[in-house]
Symmetry: C2
Subunit: 480 residues, 2 copies
């Protein structure tokens, strides 16, 4: 059933042609069925799809993209639709087709000797993690949405998360890639090689390009040894300066075995304790801030002793006020749940203006001081809730209105707040989008902070790989 909007947006015979390629299950054109594909996770960008395409194979993606290219229909690629910047849903025009990779959800192969996993783009991250564990290996990408985000989305947004410190961003975990190009041709780079210097590394062009240069359909990903010993600790400290110094000490002592080092100010913990049941303060006394530490090693290497000794020395130096090391998986789980539920605690505390900034790790203390000061000056009384992946210099610096009733008025100043906070990060050599990408939410910041030459070169890439602007148009970089 085509409604009038669809009839307007798509050329005659388009839906039938799409069904010929992808079958009845591969095309959704009724408004109710399409609606969920048009709603972004944060519900900030109400959109309407011309059509939803759900191919089940690379050949179907190829056929559908060629069909869209021929008809000049723009495509918005979509994975788990968990992105936070509005990059995977259609705009309000009703002229963009969503191409969901969700049905391409097959784990193709796990090879414990190559230390690789080959997957289709629609495989959910947690399923890739499970498949790796079943082969006694670890797929080390880990982030809040892992139960519903997909590998294709992870790769096309260069996802980060809580283990970047040890294992890198999504880009760093890719050995091979298959991409459907803007004209529908299939670029097969599905190699499983650790070294391959045979010309330009084309896969790098597509990783992190948010579906604007090609559609990732399959990938070969790196696995690492499954850790045998895990040490999880909750550490009380005075603030970001101590946190940064402590991390350097812990990395030196363990030889780089820290997988996670998350920073949580006291205010975030208190908010959680107040608003969500089932949590308790892991330490007896309150401290200004905390770090959640995880380190892992192979077997029988005394990692716990190393961490304990390093924490002891740090306590003598005054970097650590108090600390507790989990004695069981259950205790470690309770510590992790605090970190994982911080966003939910924050949500219950009221809507906030969000930031996903990063700075060089050594500038984190300056960033906290600078950003808190700037917010206090520009928005007197506004509350800051800032936590994050401090080992990556990545802070989710969120700003709430002075009082809950002011929320709507405060949120209306979203861009103004962004600018105040992002200016501080940029001034310290930082980034206005550490791991969430550009999508539509960071377009204004993109135009403001990226140098004209960078934007010019990105446009050249867009023109070289998607000359007719078929793929996710207007996201990341507008056409020249």
């Amino acid at each position: 059933m085509n409604d009038i909007g669809v009839r307007d947006a798509l050329p005659a015979g388009f839906v039938a042609a799409a069904r010929t390629i992808a079958g009845a299950a591969g095309v959704i054109d009724d408004p109710a069925g399409m609606a969920p594909f048009a709603e972004d996770r944060r519900k900030r960008y109400p959109g309407r799809a011309a059509l939803v395409l759900r191919p089940a194979s690379t050949a179907e993606v190829s056929g559908l993209v060629a069909l869209c290219a021929g008809a000049g229909v723009a495509i918005v690629p979509q994975g788990g639709n968990t992105g936070l910047v509005g990059g995977s849903t259609p705009d309000e025009s009703g002229r963009e087709a969503v191409l969901s990779l969700a049905r391409m959800n097959r784990v193709i192969a796990v090879d414990p000797i190559d230390n690789t996993i080959a997957v289709e783009a629609g495989v959910i991250l947690a399923e890739a993690q499970d498949a790796a564990l079943a082969a006694d290996r670890l797929f080390p990408l880990s982030l809040a949405a892992e139960g519903s985000c997909t590998i294709g989305g992870n790769l096309s947004t260069n996802a980060g998360g809580t283990q970047v410190l040890r294992y890198g961003n999504a880009r760093d975990l890719v050995l091979g890639l298959e991409v459907v190009l803007a004209d529908g041709r299939v670029l097969d780079l599905m190699r499983a090689l650790r070294k391959d210097n045979t010309g330009y590394d084309l896969k790098q062009v597509f990783l992190g390009s948010e579906g604007t240069l090609g559609i990732i359909t399959r990938a070969v990903l790196k696995l690492v040894p499954r850790p045998r010993e895990t040490v999880t600790a909750w550490i009380g400290l005075d603030g970001p300066t101590a946190a940064v110094a402590l991390l350097a000490d812990l990395q030196g002592a363990t030889g780089g075995q820290v997988t996670t080092f998350e920073y949580i100010p006291r205010s975030c913990l208190e908010q959680l304790l107040r608003l969500i049941e089932g949590h308790r303060d892991p330490l007896r006394e309150p401290w200004p801030a905390y770090a959640l530490l995880e380190a892992t090693s192979g077997r029988s290497q005394g990692l716990r002793g190393t961490v304990e000794a390093a924490l002891g020395e740090a306590m003598e130096k005054g970097l650590v006020r108090d600390a507790t090391i989990a004695e069981s998986e259950a205790q470690a789980g309770a510590l992790w749940r605090i970190r994982e539920e911080l966003p939910e605690g924050e949500k219950r505390a009221g809507a906030a203006v969000k930031h996903d900034v990063s700075v060089p790790v050594s500038r984190i203390p300056d960033f906290f001081e600078g950003a808190e000061g700037a917010v206090a000056r520009a928005f007197p009384g506004a509350r800051v809730s800032a936590f994050g992946h401090i080992g990556d210099g990545n802070i989710h610096f969120n700003v709430l209105p002075p009082h809950a009733p002011d929320t709507d008025r405060f949120l209306a100043r979203w861009d103004e707040v962004n600018r105040v906070v992002e200016d501080v990060a940029i001034g310290l050599g930082g980034s206005f989008s550490a791991e969430h990408g550009i999508g539509r939410m960071r377009q204004a910041s993109f135009e403001r902070y990226k140098k004209p030459l960078e934007i010019e070169l990105m446009r050249r890439l867009k023109t070289a790989f998607d000359p007719h602007g078929i793929l996710n148009p207007g996201r990341v970089v507008a056409r020249p």
Copy 2:
């Protein structure tokens, strides 16, 4: 002094204009002074430079590139000139200018909290390593030419080496980059961020592009904690199947702390013992093959015990025949010297047809069997000397003539031998150039093995970033 060739090749006033930009020390135009810059390391590609440019700053590089672009003079960027594929020296035409980065050799900064080192492109790799050590950190790129190769060359060729297994290729070690574009403009991406998803990752375009898309002038590189414990072992085994299985066991036991795992067949060791003084067989009895293992950890983690236990178990399983663990740095040094002098031993054994292939790690046994068989069939009596970075699937598979006097006749069949060996690697999902790149030596293989669509997309990149073909023309990919 301009000789006639230079006068032919360069427009009137060009040399004077270059001197205005880079000073007298920045321009060499006498034939004797230019000669060393025109000779490739393997002396396979006798060339002649129109001019040698030696800028001392990014501004000078920028000015010189703009000058060349305006005059249509092609530029061959050059670092330490240690490349093995003829990618950094001019052709015979006498029309190409060499642009050497050797004078840009400043370590700009080392930051032990950010875990970064910022360098100019002409810094010698060993000097970057030393600067990191002075700050109690490790810069983990390590390769045979480290005493004379430069960071700019390492990055533009995506260098590999002996620690890729643990720390990745050169590409993986880069946080920030400065590049002079083909029109002379300076692209400043000198960031020190662990996470930065703000549009296309432009630096990836230039890394590994062999100076054909831009000239790398500065970089911010990752450092890692300096290891506190190092275990070095020499392991006797039956062949590649045992080596691959043993590596998987060691990675599992140590949680991925293996930094180096080099494979050396008995024949290579014997050649070394015969031809170079000062070496001895580390084990009492001969074994068909050996692995040189290095693993490192933080402090007091009992790494040696872990490795010993894993080797003991592997011995029970029959994967290991005998092994010795170095008891001192001197002993470890002696083991490493065997690996480091293998190429020299091979050189003394006579000229060989070289290969730098890779396959997925699990296919290494198949590769050895397949390639040795194919060589025996195609070139009866030819001798194989194959060693390499087995943890990366990277084998330097070198083929010598049956008898030394046949050498010239055999070397004349270089391309034929290449094809036989590379066909086997490609058939196993491998690569014909794992770490050395394309340059001029692998052009024929590039045309033979890369898919037409890959070559087409690489040409689009070349056109987008160097539309007039000024930078290292004809290397990697020819213009459309």
